[in-house]
């Protein structure tokens, strides 16, 4: 089919053309008569003018230029691109949820609050935490929220000197970024040859300046942190707190809980582990869980049940409000639906399926691709194209682009930063054995292909490799007359 480029909306505009016409009613007055002219604009806004069909067609065609989980395997490591159940889209669109106004009285939103109350409890149970806030809109906002709690906690305890947040060198970029944003000094500790945190390197930081150690477990290498119990002990003995980046929680569902490993704070990415759709970039939700004393520092409001009624309330030492209203509510509805669908057994099978699929795929690729850390992996694993780069000048990015030609989305590349030419592969539990095999076969095929062919990939996509340097040097960030 002709998947040709689609002109922008602005190239399709036609003066005077109408799309949807809003309801209108004659009130017999014109508000402009009562407002000073200098406040008002008489010129209609600069928006494209298209018919409803043109708009429909435009976006349908644009959509066809995308890959998505519904069209292909999307082995993007760290992102948990699993099947997004459609029933969740149905429940999130129930008028009783979708039409609800956030400022309605609690009495008129009891169903919404009840759902949130249960979801808080379910997430607490899943992570082994004592309390949960559903507010954060994504993982990164969860991180920042938790770190503000850490800061408030130490302020309250008079330990203001605890200004250091330690992150492993394999950590996700949001971890150091959040720590810095929260006003902490960020210290990076290296990983050892095994992919775990280098305990020796960590030790010097386990002191009275330590506020918090942020860990992803399984790590971004897809490995379970072997030293976790030692680390937890060390951090706590130093008076520090242990933070769990839950981006990889999918691996552990029902088999292990951060709370039981000694983590004090956690965030979850509902758009990963609980499969709410990524939507080409969002929205997500990043609830934060806390243990013990820290629960009192959760942002406001949280939901509680009082005399059989569900109410919002503000925890005792709350850091305050971290976003408007009550969280990405419809994302929460989806995650709640997902949890109720699975139950305890279903969630455990999710985690097991994810780990099984990753290890299987690893077993198929091992020998053909270099594995960064050759251990039993959890839900994902990291390959390195360093030899391929050296010997054939075929880089990780080339392999990634070549996969696009075969109808697969690409693995995460060049992350984690500690692995040279990294290809991070997360198949998720929802891919079938047949799909895993086809993907593995394709990877093996690419390993044997003419390096020129791979280096110049992709060849069959609507556009080929883009000039990103030009995009950054001469940024064109909006349509303007004269562009083409």
């Amino acid at each position: 089919m002709s998947l040709t480029a689609e002109p922008t909306l602005f190239e399709k505009t036609s003066p005077g053309r109408r799309g949807v016409i809003p309801p209108q009613e004659n009130t017999g007055l014109n508000w402009r008569d009562e407002v000073a002219a200098e406040l008002v604009s008489e010129k209609p806004p600069e928006l494209p003018e298209l018919s409803e069909l043109e708009v429909m067609r435009h976006f349908v065609r644009l959509s066809q230029l995308n890959y998505g989980i519904d069209t292909t395997m999307y082995p993007l490591g760290s992102c948990t691109m699993k099947y997004n159940p459609r029933i969740n889209e149905v429940t999130a669109r129930l008028p009783g949820f979708a039409r609800l106004h956030p400022m309605q009285s609690e009495d008129t939103a009891q169903g919404a609050l009840e759902m949130m109350y249960h979801l808080q409890n379910h997430l607490a149970e899943i992570t082994g935490m004592d309390g949960i806030t559903l507010q954060p809109a994504a993982g990164a906002q969860g991180e920042l929220t938790a770190l503000l709690m850490v800061a408030a906690y130490y302020r309250k305890r008079g330990e203001d000197q605890r200004k250091v947040v330690v992150v492993p060198d394999s950590s996700h970029g949001t971890n150091p970024a959040s720590a810095a944003l929260a006003g902490f000094d960020v210290v990076t500790v290296p990983s050892n040859a095994n992919g775990d945190v280098d305990l020796e390197a960590l030790k010097p930081h386990l002191n009275e300046k330590l506020a918090c150690l942020m860990l992803t477990n399984p790590s971004t290498l897809g490995l379970f942190e072997n030293g976790i119990q030692t680390i937890a002990k060390g951090v706590h003995e130093a008076g520090g707190l242990l933070y769990y980046d839950g981006a990889n929680m999918n691996a552990l569902l029902g088999n292990a809980r951060p709370g039981d490993m000694g983590f004090d704070l956690v965030h979850l990415n509902l758009h990963k582990t609980f499969s709410t759709p990524h939507g080409g970039g969002g929205p997500g939700a990043g609830p934060v869980g806390a243990r013990g004393e820290l629960v009192k520092y959760l942002p406001a409001p949280v939901v509680d049940r009082v005399d059989g009624k569900f109410r919002f309330f503000k925890p005792e030492n709350s850091i305050g409000r971290i976003r408007t209203f009550w969280g990405n509510f419809l994302v929460l509805v989806r995650a709640y639906t997902y949890i109720r669908y699975h139950g305890p057994q279903g969630l455990k099978e999710v985690g097991e399926g994810a780990v099984l699929a990753a290890n299987y795929l690893l077993s198929r690729l091992k020998g053909h691709y270099e594995v960064a850390y050759d251990r039993t992996c959890m839900h994902e694993f990291v390959l390195t194209a360093r030899t391929s780069k050296k010997e054939k000048n075929v880089k990780a990015m080339d392999i990634a682009k070549r996969l696009l030609d075969y109808g697969y989305y690409a693995p995460t590349v060049y992350f984690p930063l500690i692995v040279e030419e990294a290809l991070m592969i997360e198949p998720t539990e929802t891919e079938s054995l047949e799909t895993l095999n086809r993907f593995a076969d394709t990877m093996l095929k690419i390993a044997e292909e003419d390096p020129d062919l791979v280096r110049s990939a992709p060849h069959s996509t609507p556009v080929s490799r883009l000039d990103e340097v030009r995009a950054a040097r001469k940024p064109v960030l909006r349509w303007e007359e004269g562009l083409s």
Partner: protein, 451 residues
């Protein structure tokens, strides 16, 4: 239940290839103390059908706003055409990730580019990001931008800014060693205090939380005189179709929440915050940006750009930690704006404002009710009620009317005042019904006091 496709046979084959006997062996790296040996204490699994029924039941416990809803206060119930939801439910949009591989993400990328363009056009700015979490967070981001650009530390914020956004600023400001100064309203309009050279930025909302259209030109001018950056928060962005744009009256950074232009109320989220700015601040803007470029064959294409600002490149030096944003919500807004077009958006704004002004006229003639402010307003009106406004809200609720917002929670000076909001989704008949209900609502109460 689960969505795992592996049959028992599949599992055997996979384990054989791995060289294990049991799936549980794959978890051997978890130390025993950290391994969960009991089942999670969660309700038992439900089938798709049962889970749907359960959620329907929960949803039915909420009161769903109808035409008779007059609640705004930061979230606005405008009509959203059916095409919007159709598009955002397209598999290829909904189940894609952030467009890291542009060759197979042109759909997402081009629509972001279109979003950026339309938001620039609406606000009068040069650059707009691909969305942040919500309008409140966008305001916080803008303040951080200003602090970092100016190297100053004071932030002057109008009391007319959404109370929750002001709360957010209080939560976050310490992280940037900033100092918040609140500028009180006078008769509902912002008046800046002295602005000196410590002031990084001013921040006001228009139409403000009480519905008033601020004198943006004056506020921005005074800000610039002090060498500070004027940050403007947009009330309901549909107002940009009929009011002077922040870019026209001197704003340099514009923030807001695009919920009213394309998203359902959703009990507060997911919405779509945005940060737009003039070119000079471009490299300080947080969040994703999509740029137009060419591919290796010279064809036009789109990709994420200026990523050097972002956490995955700059880590602890990044300007913002945002990663996942509100992409699909921004797409909804893009589709909405394309459908409505200039004329449609203008009509939405006009219809809303006209209904509000129609209401004002009616309510002013009602016994006991008083207009609080004597200022130009858009589609929200502050009304002082005879007697308890809280009790009045309950009475209205009994008649299926979701009344206005009780502002005394946030503005103690406006005791027993309700902020009523009007949009094209109400219609004149609903306004008449509200006025009628207001007229009769206090009768029994008065009767009660007399007896």
């Amino acid at each position: 239940m689960n969505y795992v496709p592996h049959t028992a046979g599949d599992r055997q084959k996979m384990l054989a290839s791995i060289g294990k006997q049991e799936v549980s062996e794959l978890f051997d790296s978890i130390p025993p103390g950290a391994r969960l040996t009991r089942a999670l204490n969660l309700p038992e699994q439900l089938s798709e059908y049962e889970v749907a029924l359960h959620l329907e039941e929960l949803a039915s416990k909420n009161m769903v706003p109808s035409r008779l809803s007059f609640l705004g206060a930061g979230a606005y119930r405008h009509f959203v055409p059916a095409v919007v939801d159709t598009i955002i439910q397209r598999s290829e949009f909904m189940t894609a990730y952030t467009p890291y591989q542009p060759e197979v993400s042109q759909g997402t990328l081009q629509s972001i580019f279109e979003f950026q363009t339309m938001m620039c056009n609406l606000t009068g700015m040069d650059v707009c990001n691909a969305s942040v979490y919500d309008g409140g967070c966008a305001a916080v981001d803008a303040v951080f931008m200003a602090l970092s650009i100016s190297g100053r530390h004071k932030v002057v914020v109008s009391e007319g800014l959404h109370p929750q956004t002001r709360e957010l600023l209080r939560t976050y400001i310490d992280t940037h060693a900033g100092e918040l100064i609140e500028a009180p309203l006078q008769d509902g309009r912002t008046v800046w205090p002295e602005l000196n050279d410590e002031v990084a930025c001013t921040l006001f909302q228009t139409p403000n939380f009480l519905g008033v259209i601020e004198d943006g030109a004056a506020l921005c001018a005074r800000t610039k005189e002090a060498g500070a950056i004027p940050v403007v928060s947009v009330g309901d962005p549909c107002s940009l179709a009929v009011l002077k744009r922040p870019g026209d009256f001197g704003g340099e950074i514009v923030v807001g929440d695009a919920q009213p232009i394309g998203l359902p109320l959703s009990y507060g989220g997911p919405y779509a915050g945005f940060v737009a700015c003039k070119k000079q601040h471009m490299r300080r803007i947080p969040g994703r940006l999509c740029g137009m470029t060419v591919d290796s064959q010279g064809r036009r294409g789109f990709c994420l750009t200026l990523q050097a600002r972002e956490q995955h490149i700059r880590r602890d030096k990044a300007f913002s930690n945002i990663c996942t944003n509100q992409g699909l919500c921004a797409l909804a807004v893009t589709v909405y704006l394309a459908l409505l077009g200039p004329q449609g958006l203008k009509e939405v704004a006009d219809a809303s404002a006209n209904l509000a002004h129609y209401f004002k006229k009616q309510v002013a003639s009602l016994d006991g009710y008083k207009l609080v402010l004597n200022q130009p307003f858009f589609h929200e009106v502050l009304v002082e009620c005879p007697g308890s406004a809280e009790a009045l809200l309950k009475t209205l609720e009994g008649r299926g009317i979701v009344g206005g917002y009780l502002v005394e929670k946030d503005y103690p000076q406006y005791k027993n005042c309700l902020l009523f909001c009007f949009t094209e989704a109400n219609g004149k008949a609903a306004v008449d019904e509200l006025v009628n209900a207001l007229q009769h609502a206090h009768r029994p109460l008065e009767g009660a006091t007399r007896s």
